[in-house]
Every structure is written in C-alpha cells, then in structure tokens.
C-alpha cells in the first residue's frame, strides 16, 4: 500500500477542524457586530457624511496588509535560516492574503476618494507607494509560480518578501515625509491624539480586531489548501514512478 495517508503538513490545521470551524464562527459573529457598530452606532461625520463609514473597513484592511507583509518578512527570514517548509507555508499564505487585503485597501480607497477628492485616483505619495507595495507582492507570488522548482521558488520568494518589506514603512511615512492630500495616520507613532472621536476610535479598534481574526482564518484556509496541493503532488509522483 502506498504511503499516501499522511496528507497533512506540520503547519496545517486539518487535524483540528474544530479549531478552524470555531475561528470561522467567531469571525462571522464579530463581523456582524462590526457591521452593526459601523452602521448603527458610529456617528455620522459632519463633513464627509455617511461615506466616512468606509474608514472602518479601509483603515483596518490597510493595517492588516502591513501586518501580513511583516509576517512574510519574519517567516521568510526564518525559512532562509532554517529551511523549514512550515515557515515558507506561513509566509506564502500571508503574502497571498496580504495581496487580497492591499487590493481591497486600494479599491475602498478609490471608491472613498471619488466623493471626497472628486477623483478616483491621483498619483499622490500614499496611493503611489501603496500601488508599488501591491506590485511587489504580486511579483512575490509570480516568482513563486514561475520558479523552475518549488524549493527554488520558495527561496526566491523569500528574498522578494524580505526586500519588498522596505516599502511598508515608506507607505506609512509617505503622508508625513511628503506633501499629500491623503489624511495623516490615525494609528501609530504619527497619529494625532485628537484625530478621532472616542466612539469612532473604539469602533475602529473593534473593526481592527475583527480583521485580525479574518486574516488568521484566511491564512489557515490557504495553508490547508497548500497542504492538499502537496499531498496531491506526492500521490501524482508515486503514480508517475509506477508508470501510471
């Protein structure tokens, strides 16, 4: 009997489906509460109107993309040092989910910009550096896909993931370093203490925690997909070796 039973990678949650299910339920409930807070509790901005509520999705999604790429940076470093496939699996999943988040940050920003700035897009520093960030991590995924072997792809992608992270602080500081129409940071070292009303700040914080759960859930789903891809690769290899 061929040894194809061991389908799980060490980092997979496949052996603990209840953990993943619990995470999905918690994330779903938190998201429903988040929507209630955004639409029913958050005060309407006196200048921007209802469209300002996009802020409770746009900002946490943008911050989550930074954290995703920080995870790529850390786990890529660990992979290059130890060559443990699990670290590469986490970096890969974080990069892919990070690309989804940065895409959403760009899209929600574009939609928010139209009524507020009267334009869909402008090449101002924050938007331009974010677009570069998106391109860097799309390149990360492409390098991995087009590498001649999986192990080479993992090494090349790790290098891109480490070097590409340089753009994350540039995106954050872009509104401080250069004249920009984009608002100043509302969280982090350059945030103004009175930038937000208390209720708005608490809802933003809650929204951020919700997206942390969403991110972890998406990463576990992606890691499980990767473990299945590898199991399929192993079984195909066994069949090829037998000439089937």
């Amino acid at each position: 009997m061929a040894n194809t039973q061991n389908l799980e990678l060490p980092g997979s949650l496949g052996r603990f489906p209840s953990v993943k299910t619990s995470l999905a339920i918690i994330t779903g409930v938190m998201m429903l509460v988040d929507l209630y807070l955004i639409f029913m509790v958050a005060p309407t901005d006196s200048v921007l109107g209802h469209v300002q509520r996009v802020f409770y999705f746009h900002v946490p999604i943008a911050i989550m993309s930074f954290l995703a790429f920080f995870a790529v940076f850390i786990f890529s470093l660990m992979y290059l040092v130890k060559r443990t496939p699990r670290w590469d699996a986490i970096a890969h999943a974080s990069a892919e989910v990070g690309v989804v988040f940065v895409t959403l940050a760009l899209l929600t920003g574009i939609i928010w910009a139209r009524p507020v700035w009267n334009t869909w897009w402008t090449w101002e520093p924050r938007l331009t550096t974010t677009m570069i960030l998106w391109l860097i991590y799309v390149a990360y995924l492409m390098v991995r896909s087009y590498a001649p072997t999986q192990s080479k792809g993992a090494i090349y992608a790790a290098v891109v993931g480490i070097v590409g992270f340089i753009d994350v602080p540039i995106v954050y500081y872009s509104v401080v370093w250069w004249r920009s129409i984009h608002p100043s940071p509302v969280v982090g070292p350059f945030a103004q203490s009175d930038a937000l009303d208390g209720t708005m700040y608490l809802i933003l914080l809650y929204s951020f925690i919700t997206f942390i759960f969403f991110f972890v859930y998406m990463v576990t789903e992606r890691m499980e997909l990767r473990s299945t891809e590898e199991a399929l690769g192993r079984i195909r290899f066994t069949l090829r070796r037998r000439g089937r």
Partner: protein
Amino acid sequence: MLDFILLSSHLPSSNLPYLFAAFAVSWVVLFGYLFYVNRHQHEMKKEIARLQRVLDDDPSEE
C-alpha cells in the same frame, strides 16, 4: 440656486452609493477569495480520492 446645489451635494445621503459600493466590493473580494480557496480545495480532495483508488487497485504495489 448654486449655493443650494453645493450644500445638497454635501448632505450625508448624497454619497450613499459610494458607501454601498465600498462595502459591496469588500464583501465580494473577501468572500470571492474564500470561495476560490474552498472550491480549489474541494476539487483537489476529489482528485486525491480518485488517485488513491487508482493506487489501491494497482497490482504492482508492494
């Protein structure tokens, strides 16, 4: 008249379609991604089960 138009364009209700669009896009992208991952996962598990049966039926196996 012009003043009225400018003021009404800043009423909170005037930018509701953008609010709807931003949240709709967010849900489509997030759930679209999760749907893609789950569908891919399901298809690969089916393929694994099929290939496993081929392996199990293989007379050349040890």
